[in-house]
Symmetry: C2
Subunit: 129 residues, 2 copies
C-alpha cells in the first residue's frame, strides 16, 4: 500500500524547493487530502530512506524534503529567500572530500555540501513607491 506515500511524494514533486513535513501536511489538507501528520512524517522518512527524496536540515533544526529530479549524487544551490533550488553536480568536491579524508587516515568517507545564496529574482531591487 503506497497510496499515502505516493500522495506525499506527489505533493513534494509539485513544490519548487525544500518543504518541511508540516508544510507538506498543511498543503495536503488544504487540497482536501485526508491524511494525518504522523503518516506524512512516516511517508517522508520512508521516501528519504529509499533515496526518493533528499533531506536537509534548516538552521532552525527542521527537516526539509525535496523530490529531486536527479537520482544521482548531487548537491543543492538554495535561495535563502524563496527556497528556489538548483541541483548541481560537483565532481571536484567529491574528489576533494575523498582526498581530505584519506589524507588523514579516515575511511568510509561521506560529506554534506550545500550552497546558499540569493537568487536573481530575489536580489532584484525591491520596487520603491
Amino acid at each position: 500500500m503506497t497510496t499515502r506515500r505516493d500522495a506525499v511524494h506527489d505533493t513534494l514533486r509539485r513544490s519548487e524547493g525544500f518543504r518541511s513535513a508540516q508544510d507538506v501536511y498543511a498543503e495536503m489538507r488544504l487540497h482536501g487530502a485526508k491524511i494525518g501528520l504522523t503518516t506524512v512524517y512516516r511517508a517522508l522518512q520512508a521516501l528519504a530512506d529509499c533515496g526518493q527524496v533528499d533531506v536537509l536540515r534548516t538552521d532552525e533544526g527542521e527537516s526539509v524534503y525535496r523530490a529531486c529530479a536527479s537520482d544521482d549524487h548531487h548537491h543543492h544551490l538554495v535561495c535563502r529567500r524563496c527556497g528556489h533550488t538548483v541541483e548541481v553536480a560537483g565532481p571536484a568536491v567529491e574528489r576533494w572530500a575523498e582526498a581530505v579524508g584519506s589524507d588523514h587516515g579516515f575511511t568510509e568517507i561521506t560529506h554534506t555540501v550545500e550552497v546558499f545564496g540569493t537568487c536573481s529574482s530575489c536580489s532584484a531591487p525591491a520596487r520603491v513607491g
Copy 2:
C-alpha cells in the same frame, strides 16, 4: 561580565570534538561548576555569534559546538564514531561554491561543507577474544 562564558569556552577547548550544550552543561556540573543549563545555552550562542566557536547540526537535530584552533574559514573532518575532528581548509571548494552560485545568478553565496568518516583509531579491527 564574561566569567560564565569563559568557563563554557574553556570546557569546550578541553574537548576534542563537537559537544552539545547538554554535554557541556553535564561536564561542567560534573567538575563542580555552578551554572545553569540556560546560561550554557546562552554562552554557547554568544560564542557562536562572535565566531569563537563553530556550530554543527547532528543528524538528530542537536546543535554541537567546538572551539576551533583556526580563526579562519575552514571545514571539518569528523569521525562519526568517536567525534575526533580535524580542521581542514578547502580553497578549491570555496571557489567551486562561489562559481556554482554565480553561474546560476545567485549572490551573497555561503556554503556548508562537512566531511565525515571513520578515523584510523576507530577503524582498527576490534580485538576478538
